[in-house]
Structure formats: C-alpha cells, structure tokens
C-alpha cells in the first residue's frame, strides 16, 4: 500500500462523520476507530446489546466454475486452501486460509457455497493480492469476479437477531455459519450468521446504494449502536480470533497458529482429497507431528496491558527470549489485560508462566486457553 495515495471511503463514510466518529487510516481506507461512546463502552454495548460495524473495506469476490458445475469451483479453490470446500453444503460458510508454498498464510477468509457459485470474503489489506491470486490459479477453470459495488455491514451481539429480523424475518431461523439471500428494504442482501466478535450476529452484503439506508434503519432500532474498529479489535481479541498481519502472516503456518480446526479431515493425510494445496508438505507434516511453536492465549497477571510486539522470556529477569506478543490490550469484558502470541511448544501448555518485557520490567503472564470469553454463537 502506497502511503501517499488518497484514502478510500466506504459508502458509509458520510454517515460515520455525521455520527461523530474519529476517523483513522486503515488498510487504505478512512475508517471509524470509535464513535462518541468510546472504545470501552462500544465493546461492552456489543456484548450486552447489538453493535453495527462498517466492514465495507473488506473484499468480496465470486468464484464461478466455467463448466457451470459449482463442484468444479470448489475443487479449484481447494488447490489454494487446506480446507474442505467440496464438502461445504449449499448455504453454508466456512473459515479458510490461503497458504503459500512455504506453508505460510497469505490471508484468511470466509468461504460460502451459494449453490451455483462460491462467495468469498477476504481482508481489506490483502484483497487486491487475493483477487490476483485467485485469477492466476483459478482463472482457467473459473470466472473470478471481485464485487466492487456492494458494502458489508456486521451486526453483532445478543440483540442482533431481533434487530435484523425486524427488517428481514428469515434471519431468525438461521444457524451459525448459515448464509441466505433475502430482501432488506426491497433489495437482495447476502446474509451470513457469523462475525468477528465472539457474539451471535450477522454479516450483510448489501448494494452500495442501499448501504446507508440499511445502516440508518438498523441504528434506529433500540439497542443498536455504531461500533468502530477499536472495539472490533478488542472484541475479536477476547474471542481469540486472529487478526491477519498481526497474529498470522506469511511467516506463520496454520498449525503454528493453532488453526488445525480450519483444516478438515478430507484434506489431511488419509483423507479423500489429502494435500494438493500450497505448502502441503510442511502443513501435513506439522498436522501429524506438531509445529515447534504455537499461538497461545496470554493472561497478564497484573493490571498492565501487554501490547503487540512485546518480547516474552522464560526467566523473570529477562533471560531466554521465547517469542513475542502478536496482539494485546485490555479486555473490557474480561476486565483486565488479555493478549495472544507465539511460544515454543515447551512453554505453550496452559498454566505456564512466562515474562513480558514492559517498560523495562518483566511482568508475569500465564499461558491461557482461548477464547477469553464464552462465545454465544447460535449453533
């Protein structure tokens, strides 16, 4: 990303400004980091009621088999992800990872089987590279079509179902990771029951021209507040969810990142379609024997937040550097500091104490199971 290029705006930009948001550059977009409520109260509001997030900066892309058979698109995509795409039912969504030849992670994404095509949602900072990656490797057998005229809104929290069902009754009966197409305000939206907060909720792909009307309709509902990127980050951290570029990147493998759950049996050794994705040799070996380091939850014992890039040591006086924190801050629901980072497997067991270097002191931090909160996904 060229730092000199002008910031892009989502279709909700004017609405954010009118709501009093503090705008910051994020992945090339001018985005709301917080509204007047503030990060702490926005976080707590989302867990207690419902929060509306503008995630229109993320990439949306359709992959459609030239043969007309969606199974061919699924098999084509499986060449890029260690995920069982062919086994994904119609109207179902699944988390996935684009891997590289070294077994590193190029991006993480959501994959949906929409019946006659696949619908993918990828990270904002990676989207143009992802579109090119898909075109390069799938272009011969599939039409790869980035969607540049639809916004993406997320509605998260215990009141999300009632709020969205008041505009689109069909969403009430959806389960976690279901995806449907249904009209809202007279236009067809693609709605998944998923998100990035640890709460029940939805993500709504809506035509750009209707995005602001939809946001306003949701914000008019009692209990729905606009939530910025600041609280989005603290919510996902408490939920133990990775942020691409912080917790996972081309230097981390899926097994190091503790994302084995995203790689189904069909793609593992002995599975029906084992391997066949970039970096399969290393990733399959690590699935079998484990990796030498692992992403873990870290709970600082004191009150001081331990931020990203903080170094971690085995000894309380800073001896034996082990790794570093990849995401860390204050968890408003936990009411204390929370973090995640990478440790050698010998130090990665829950309950292990390591030491984080913060302003010249070595603060004890306990390896802790993720997530820090109990998710409320509607399974």
């Amino acid at each position: 990303m060229d730092d000199q290029s002008p910031l892009l705006k989502t279709p909700l930009h004017a609405l954010h400004v009118s709501l009093g948001a503090r705008m910051v550059p994020f992945a090339g977009y001018d985005m709301p980091v917080q509204y007047p409520l503030g990060v702490l109260k926005e976080h707590l509001h989302t867990r207690a009621h419902a929060g509306l997030f503008d995630v229109s900066h993320m990439g949306q892309v359709i992959v459609r088999a030239r043969s007309g058979n969606n199974a061919d698109a699924a098999l084509a995509l499986e060449k890029l992800v260690p995920v069982d795409v062919a086994g994904l039912g119609i109207g179902r969504q699944r988390y996935g990872l684009f891997t590289n030849d070294d077994g590193g992670i190029l991006d993480d994404l959501m994959i949906t089987n929409r019946g006659d095509h696949l619908f993918l949602v990828v990270n904002a900072a990676c989207k143009e590279a992802d579109f090119a990656h898909l075109e390069k490797h799938l272009g011969a057998s599939c039409e790869v079509t980035p969607i540049r005229d639809r916004s993406l809104l997320a509605l998260q929290g215990p009141k999300a179902e009632a709020a969205l069902a008041s505009l689109a009754p069909a969403v009430a009966s959806m389960k976690f990771m279901d995806v449907i197409a249904t009209p809202i305000l007279g236009v067809e939206c693609i709605i998944s029951r998923s998100g990035y907060s640890g709460e029940d909720g939805y993500e709504i792909s809506v035509p750009d021209e209707t995005a602001e009307a939809l946001a306003n309709a949701l914000l008019a509902i009692d209990g729905v507040e606009p939530i910025g990127l600041g609280a989005r980050d603290s919510l996902r951290l408490e939920a133990g969810l990775c942020l691409y570029g912080n917790d996972i990147d081309t230097g981390t493998t899926p097994v190091e990142a503790a994302l084995e759950w995203a790689m189904q049996k069909a793609r593992r050794i002995g599975g029906a379609r084992a391997g066949g994705f970039p970096g399969a040799d290393r990733i399959l070996a690590e699935l079998d024997k484990g990796a030498s380091r692992r992403r873990v939850g870290l709970k600082p014992e004191g009150k001081a937040p331990v931020r990203g890039h903080t170094k971690l040591y085995a000894d309380e006086n800073g001896g034996s550097e082990l790794g570093e924190v990849t995401s860390g801050g204050f968890g408003p629901t936990v009411e204390g500091p929370v973090a995640m980072g990478y440790l050698p497997v010998g130090h990665a067991a829950n309950g292990t104490t390591v030491y984080a270097e913060v302003r010249g002191k070595y603060l004890p931090v306990t390896v802790t199971a993720l997530p820090f909160i109990t998710p409320t996904y509607k399974r």
Binding site: G38, V39, L40, D233, S234, K303, P305, R307, F330
Partner: protein
Amino acid sequence: MLKFTSEHEWLKIENGVATVGITTHAAEQLGDLVFVELPAAGKSFAKGADAATVESVKAASEVYCPLDGEIVESNDAITADPSLVNSDPQGAGWFFKLKLANPADADDLLDEAAYKELIA
C-alpha cells in the same frame, strides 16, 4: 497558580510544589483509561522525561514530567480506579506532586488562556 503545558498537562503550584495532571482535553482524546502507572515518591525527573503511563483499551501513552523536580506524592486513587482521570481530570484525577527544582521555570509555562487557544 494554575499553569499548562503544550503536552496537555496542568500544574497547580503552591509553595514550590506542583500538583500535576492531564487536562480535560487530553482525557477526552485518550478515551476511557483502563490502566495508570505512576512514579514512586523520591524519584527525580528532568523536564520532558516519561514520568507516568496511561493506557486506554487501544493504546498506551506517556505522561511527561512538565518541569525538573522530585516526586513527593503520587495519587494511588487513580491507579486503583483509572476512570477517575476521565470523570475528574483536573480534580480528583491528579497524577503526582512534584517538588520543583527551580520554581521560577514555571513562569515559562502556558496560562489557562494560552492553553485554551492552543486546543481551540
């Protein structure tokens, strides 16, 4: 005597000792504080040195020592409850008391009118 710095601190100076805190404007910009670390009594700082740390959900920020001096007291109430800094930044949310090395240095700081102009 009430003085201000361009780093958004206030100083209430009595008998060569400055009670120091962050301004209402600074507290609003930082957002809800969740952690405060204060210097121990007896510690000396030069003007501009990092004397305290404040953290919001999102980020950590340093609070600079506004003048040369020695800490004579710090406000344990805000380490126990950082939200005091947001609710009463220029009162109960004070940070520390600083015995000034050269009380006359305070003359160079901003008065309230100049500070208000700075943040306007």
